[in-house]
Amino acid sequence: MSIFEYNGSALVAMVGKNCFAIASDRRLGVQLQTIATDFQRIFKIHDKLYVGLSGLATDAQTLYQRLAFRHKLYQLREERDMKPETFASLVSALLYEKRFGPYFCQPVIAGLGDDNVPFICTMDCLGAKELAKDFVVSGTASESLYGACESMYKPNMEPEELFETISQALLSSVDRDCLSGWGGHVLVVTPTEVQERTLKGRMD
């Protein structure tokens, strides 16, 4: 049993036209037992930057707390929000600091840059960045997610269509994975607003 499969998780982020969407499942389990069905995996760093953390839930929470701490200090010192690329470099550096005793997390970072160009990336638990122009996935359902996204994704989708696509990709993938599911949580972020929606899927 891999430590990454202890709690179960599914995360996906997609790029649309001047917007991005990030979605996660809601299950928190302890191996085969489901503990919670409203677990938060996606966290806001600032209005235009979100990070999702899959993998071991305790590490996801601790890592998020460290990232929020670093970003708040950055905001106070530099009097500006972090750009998504800068944040990704920071996450990568923090993860590599623990090279020989890592956080068992795979982050998915999604944000809008200064010019409102969407940015997404993922990395492994040691901080190896993987930039993508279309979508990134992470978690126990990642293999299904790759397949679903690859077939459902089209570039330059408007927010509404992006929401539909990411939701379908998420739900169909978690249905094939016993460790993730119990609904979904989707955020669609445009330069002017953020839409947060909860999905009802197979509750098992």
Binding site: R77, E78, E85, S89, L90, A93
Partner: protein, 235 residues
């Protein structure tokens, strides 16, 4: 760290509320060679006298104006060796910032960290304050910027400033000559004229140093040939 008798800070408060060592450090700065900086609309120029102790010194080997990063340069007034230590530390801090964020350090952040180092040396045991004031010139996303950092660790943003021997005359001259919409070339001319004001002897490309940074964000020290061209335009 040595005898307990010597492990107190040299900068202890005087009854009048001053830190006498810092005052003395500022005096050391005030008797150093004049240096100045001018912020133009599209860049920054910093300049200094380069009076060498003897004509036998190879002036091409001496460089007072140095880079902290590719887009931030610095000049000092006061003790040269002290400025070298600060430049070394600042360069390291700038690179650490880049390693963490993969973004070049903003000028304000580097100035703040340099100032923090200088302040540390006014509140630690067994050390003395730095005997230099720095003029930091940089160009980043917030445009051209010029900062002065003092031995106490305080820093100020300036449109134009001078330090060292001829500071009051130079500042008066700059106050009269400075305009907000100055271009970089005009600023270089004004810098040369200001240096000329208090210059002992004949000004030439061998006894002054000028550094500029423009919208290309690359700080560079002018060659003697380029300084000669500017001097010819000024004459």
């Amino acid at each position: 760290m040595g005898d307990s008798q010597y492990s107190f800070s040299l900068t202890t408060f005087s009854p009048s509320g001053k830190l006498v060592q810092i005052e003395h450090a500022l005096t050391a700065v005030g008797s150093g060679q004049t240096s100045l900086g001018i912020k133009a609309a599209n860049g920054v120029v910093i300049a200094t006298e380069k009076k060498l102790p003897s004509i036998l010194v190879d002036e091409t080997s001496v460089q007072k104006i140095q880079l902290m990063t590719t887009n931030i340069g610095v000049v000092y007034s006061g003790m040269g060796p002290d400025s070298r230590v600060l430049v070394r530390k600042s360069r390291k801090q700038a690179q650490q910032y880049y390693r963490l964020y993969k973004e070049p350090i903003p000028v304000t952040q580097l100035v703040r960290e340099t100032a923090a180092v200088m302040q540390e040396f006014t509140q630690s045991g067994g050390v003395r304050p730095f005997g230099v004031s720095l003029l930091v010139a940089g160009y980043d996303d917030n445009g051209p910027q010029l900062y002065q950092v003092d031995p106490s660790g305080s820093y100020f943003a300036w449109k134009a400033s001078a330090m060292g021997k001829n500071v009051s005359n130079a500042k008066t001259f700059l106050e009269k000559r400075y305009t907000d919409d100055m271009e970089l070339d005009d600023a270089v001319h004004t810098a040369i004229l200001t240096l000329k004001e208090g210059f002992e002897g004949q000004i030439s490309s061998k006894n002054i140093e000028i550094g500029i940074i423009g919208a290309d964000r690359k700080f560079r020290v002018l060659t003697p040939a380029e300084i000669d061209d500017y001097l010819a335009e000024v004459e």
